[in-house]
């Protein structure tokens, strides 16, 4: 791929005049035969490459398939590598400079087409007296594919300098600007093309970024939050159904969990029958999407599982991979049935209807017309106190179930803080979320490792009962379970210190200042970090 020196917009039909003028100016000119390429601009569903400042191009030209990484800022040279099949999951790409960048940008996600185009390329070579090419002028005409009538982009002319001949390229670029009066293209063509696709660049994110008005009615704010989550659920259904990558289902499940948390933690805002009905519906959705997600987690972690074993045992774990894969198709079929079901259809459509139709005033529950900021303060603070109380009650003897309960409370707290983030000072709430995240990571590690170890033990028993495994695989799974449990113990040992960090003077002061400071700001009567109800149970 040649570096582009400068791009110009080339008015339609002006090529013959350009050629004639260059010839009159004394340039020897050679026109290469025109080439035709099929171009697809690719990115993950959540625009990982675009957000990393790049555009990924797949180019089929002259029987070769190339993958290119264009830096949108223009500060880095374009990277490219030859590939032999249409790209899909980043981890399935052959190693190379572009694969490395893509993997870092989109992780486990799949490259999906954002825009498909055809491009006709004409190269004009400017030669010296030895007929050596000094500068290449490349004219490209792009048309969007698959649309009638085909939409085009303005033709581009780029000056592609050759190494060692930059002076000549600069002279030609100057002449094109001033002598031939071409208008420079201010925006990279591919960036312009990206905006013509059906998916707006950067248009999907699973991150929460609500803009709520502190004085807004609580029911209106909650509807806004829940509609955003419903959009996320709906956006991910097709990808989860087709199993394009594991993140579709993951995002769908996170949005479902957040919806359930919003319904449960903001009572008295929506009519009680709506709360009850949809809490049950979303519990169902969470349940039917669970088995495939569990298998996804095991398969995504499988290489790490193998790497955690001694070299000589790693191959012995393969029957487990086979077992997971053989169950995947069945579980995914059940998932698709659920996503295509009348229940799901009713859930999505009825839920949107409920959220978009205002509740009649006479049916509005007690909290519906309260200002959202006041209600958010109250609900978040309540959850802060619950987390603190549950955490302080955990001792070295506490059963894992207590840790699990604390994790669930922490998640609810995190979701609430994320819903209402813009109602608070950015730096302060950012710090509070960060503090909570450290605790959540510890609890998550503890819980996930316990669940995985338990499931692996169950799977080993089932595989043995069905005659699907021999002694080496059982031993390898045993070693894996032992490693998971060891890591779980480490997480358990780290809990006390981690919780102390959350429940420190600084932490308490931060949460109180944010959610329990009263209308005038920080609570003047409270000592920094003090707590109205010190709990003696803090001992773990």
């Amino acid at each position: 791929m040649h570096q582009r020196f400068q791009d110009y917009l080339l008015p339609s039909g002006s090529k013959p005049r350009l050629v004639a003028t260059l010839t009159q100016c004394g340039w020897r000119l050679l026109e290469d035969p025109p080439g035709l390429a099929a171009v697809r601009l690719l990115d993950s569903f959540d625009w990982g490459a675009y957000l990393a400042g790049a555009i990924v191009e797949e180019r089929l030209e002259a029987g070769k398939r190339r993958l290119l990484w264009h830096d949108l800022s223009g500060g880095e040279p374009t990277l490219e590598q030859l590939i032999f099949d249409a790209p899909g999951l980043a981890r399935d790409l052959a190693p190379g400079p572009v694969q490395g960048r893509i993997l870092a940008a989109i992780g486990v996600r799949r490259l999906l087409p954002a825009v498909e185009m055809e491009v006709e390329t004409q190269v004009l070579r400017l030669l010296d007296d030895e007929e050596k090419t000094l500068v290449r002028l490349v004219i490209e005409e792009y048309r969007l594919s698959g649309k009638e009538p085909r939409r085009g982009l303005a033709s581009r002319l780029s000056v592609n300098p050759l190494k060692g001949y930059e002076v000549e390229a600069q002279a030609v670029a100057d002449w094109l600007s001033h002598g031939f009066a071409l208008e420079p293209a201010l925006r990279p063509l591919l960036a312009e093309a990206l905006t013509l696709g059906e998916r707006p660049p950067g248009g999907y994110s699973s991150k929460l970024a609500y803009r709520l008005d502190p004085a807004e009615r609580a029911d209106e704010a909650l509807r806004q939050i829940l509609l955003g989550l419903l959009d996320t659920i709906e956006a991910n259904i097709p990808g989860a159904r087709e199993n394009l990558d594991s993140e579709f289902l993951h995002d769908l499940r996170v949005a479902t969990r957040r919806t359930r948390a919003a319904l449960a933690q903001m009572p008295g805002v929506l009519p009680p029958q709506v709360e009850t009905e949809f809490r049950a519906h979303f519990a169902w959705l969470q349940q039917v999407t669970g088995p495939v997600r569990d298998l996804d987690v095991y398969l995504l972690d499988f290489d790490a599982y193998q790497a955690s074993l001694p070299q000589s045992m790693r191959g012995d774990l393969e029957p487990l991979r086979f077992y997971l894969l053989s169950h995947y198709a069945d579980e995914h079929r059940l998932l698709v049935e659920a996503l295509n079901s009348v229940t799901m259809d009713h859930l999505v459509h009825h839920w949107r209807q409920v959220l978009t139709e205002p509740t009649p005033a006479e049916m509005a529950p007690a909290n519906a017309d309260r200002p959202i900021k006041a209600l958010a303060d109250e609900r978040v603070w309540r959850m802060v106190r619950r987390v603190r109380k549950e955490g302080r009650a955990i001792t070295v003897e506490s059963p894992p179930a207590d840790m699990h309960e604390l994790r669930k409370s922490c998640k609810k707290l995190r979701y609430l803080m994320e819903f209402f983030q813009n109602l608070y000072l950015g730096q302060a709430i950012g710090g509070a979320i960060k503090l909570l995240k450290v605790l959540l990571d510890n609890l998550g590690t503890f819980q996930d490792l316990a669940v995985q170890a338990g499931h692996l033990q169950d799977m080993a028993a089932r595989m043995q009962a069905q005659g699907l495994t021999g002694t080496p695989a059982l031993l390898a799974m045993g070693a894996l379970v032992a490693d998971l449990l060891r890591r779980q113990e480490t997480a358990r040992e780290a809990f006390a210190d981690t919780f102390r960090g959350f429940d420190s003077d600084r932490g308490r002061g931060l949460f109180r200042g944010l959610f329990h400071a009263g209308p005038g700001g920080a609570d003047p009567g409270a000592e920094p970090g003090s707590d109205p109800q010190p709990d003696p149970g803090h001992g773990s």
Binding site: H2, R125, E130, E131, K132, T133, L162, K163, G164, Y165
Partner: protein, 247 residues
């Protein structure tokens, strides 16, 4: 970065044709390739239509004062760049003698290009000299075009003897192959059998003597561009495949 020296003590054996055609094939295969024309005759430079001019001349190269990257010229072929040859390179040996660590200058100059190129071809002038020793120190493998004649066999013996006697360069992989072969000459056939028996590591592919190769000077293009189907072009393709397999 893989460095391939195309070398023979003897002149007129097809070194430059080999270097240009293999460098073209390497680039065509997706390898970022640099061809360094170390011969003051600058024939590779001529074949690729680049002006035979090295800024600062051979002296600045020999003394390591030159940034090699600044001398590189793109050829007309994607992925293939050239470091042009220059008549001032004729005194390279004398100039190297005055340099510090005179046998490692070439390697030192090439090191900064390691990220920019996957493969570097060194088109070497004939003779055995300080410059040759630099090539032996820098190259990962040495392709030795060998015309099936008694004198060529003798220079191949001289080369292998020199490398065996000099411990610092004895690790280099030497891959001789037959070049400019006229299969109609019984004398050549007998000699090829004998040399192949004496050098079991010799590459199997032989490059025929054809007018197509000779006309590189008229076309000033790699053989693959103007006569891709001719026997010599096919032989160079097979030779490059074999080198990659062995390398």
């Amino acid at each position: 970065m893989n460095i391939v020296g195309v070398y023979s003590i003897k002149g007129g054996v097809g070194k430059t044709a080999t270097a240009v055609n293999l460098a073209y094939l390497a680039a065509e295969g997706g390898s970022r390739t640099l061809l360094w024309d170390l011969d003051p005759q600058a024939a590779a430079t001529f074949y690729l239509r680049v002006k035979p001019k090295v800024k600062g001349g051979g002296k600045s190269l020999a003394h390591g004062r030159t940034d090699l990257d600044g001398l590189v010229k793109a050829t007309d072929f994607d992925g293939l760049d050239l470091l042009p040859g220059d008549f001032s390179l004729r005194n390279m040996d004398l100039m190297l003698e005055d340099a510090k660590r005179p046998t490692k200058q070439l390697l030192r100059l090439l090191r900064p290009l390691a990220d920019a190129y996957d493969t570097v071809f060194l088109d070497c002038p004939p003779s055995i000299s300080l410059l040759s020793e630099n090539v032996f120190r820098a190259a990962d493998l040495l392709l030795v075009p060998t015309v099936p004649t008694t004198l060529s066999e003798r220079t191949l013996d001289q080369l292998t003897g020199f490398l065996a006697d000099h411990v610092r360069v004895s690790g280099i992989e030497v891959l001789p192959f037959f070049s400019m072969v006229n299969s109609g000459l019984p004398l050549q056939v007998g000699l090829m059998e004998r040399v192949a028996a004496r050098y079991p590591g010799m590459l199997r592919t032989a490059i025929p003597l054809t007018a197509d190769v000779e006309s590189m000077g008229i076309h000033r293009l790699p053989l693959q561009v103007y006569a891709p189907g001719c026997p010599a072009a096919q032989a160079y393709r097979a030779l490059w495949a074999e080198v990659q397999e062995r390398g």
